[in-house]
Symmetry: C2
Subunit: 162 residues, 2 copies
């Protein structure tokens, strides 16, 4: 059973409209498993959007069975309303991980960039390129949020806190 | 079946450490049913605190079967970290109400005070006294958060949006 001890590491880039997710594992090198986005539409009721996040995240956890999940900490942008909406969504994300007994690690955007590029002020493009190289992808994920989620998963892997 | 059409109105004062709740109904006058607080301890893991809120709120909904729930909107205090923690908890509260198909009404602190006392700048003490008088209670609820939750339930009742 060569795969029985292989750890699955998830990363989540929290949001309300778009929640990026990524799954990786470690063989000799970090290996890509999957990435994508959960999406909720602005015209959908707020409570339904939060329930969509809960349900779809639960489905992903059941499908990929992560052993741990890294979640980006919120930074406080100028738009307080947006930050607060993301806070609501992030609460649902954290709760859903807890419901499914997935241990959580939290990282700031700076910690993630430093972990991926050894350079805190890297551009989004540089982070994307590093993700592509590290995970040996033919091309970077189409969506920023999915790419960010893989960066968070890699940061969790590198942190060895799993 | 005299009670079959009696609406049960819930109010929630959101928080992370203390979540106030109150249930009322309308006969000739507004009637008190129950009030209290869900509490989570600071030393408990954040994701467990959010799960306690989800579980205990679900139990209250199953017990009292509200037809609608008023939830206070967050105002943005100086402590951004506190506001964001409450935002996470409020997201779980809104999601839990949605899971249980309870329609939600949201009110600002000012709307609640104006609704209860016809005077937006009322003190906490004045609001408490109005709650006590309106619901014909022998004494005001011991906990501010429970009293505030009853004020939110009454605001929901007065708004006729149920």
């Amino acid at each position: 059973m060569p795969n029985s001890k292989k750890k699955i590491i998830m990363g989540i880039d929290p949001g309300l409209a778009t929640i990026g997710y990524g799954f990786i594992t470690l063989e000799k090198n970090p290996q890509f498993i999957a990435c994508g986005c959960i999406e909720t539409k602005a015209k959908t009721d707020f409570n339904k959007r939060l329930n969509i996040i809960n349900k779809e995240l639960t489905q992903l956890i059941k499908k990929y069975k992560p052993n741990i999940c890294g979640v980006e900490q919120l930074f406080f942008c100028k738009n307080v309303k947006t930050a607060m909406n993301v806070g609501h969504a992030r609460g649902v994300i954290i709760m859903t991980l807890g419901q499914n007994k997935i241990p959580i690690r939290e990282f700031t955007p700076l910690q993630i960039k430093q972990s991926i590029t050894s350079y805190g002020r890297a551009t989004k493009k540089q982070v994307e390129e590093m993700i592509k190289l590290t995970l040996n992808l033919k091309q970077a994920p189409k969506r920023d949020d999915a790419s960010d989620a893989l960066a968070i998963a890699l940061t969790t892997l590198y942190s060895k806190k799993y």
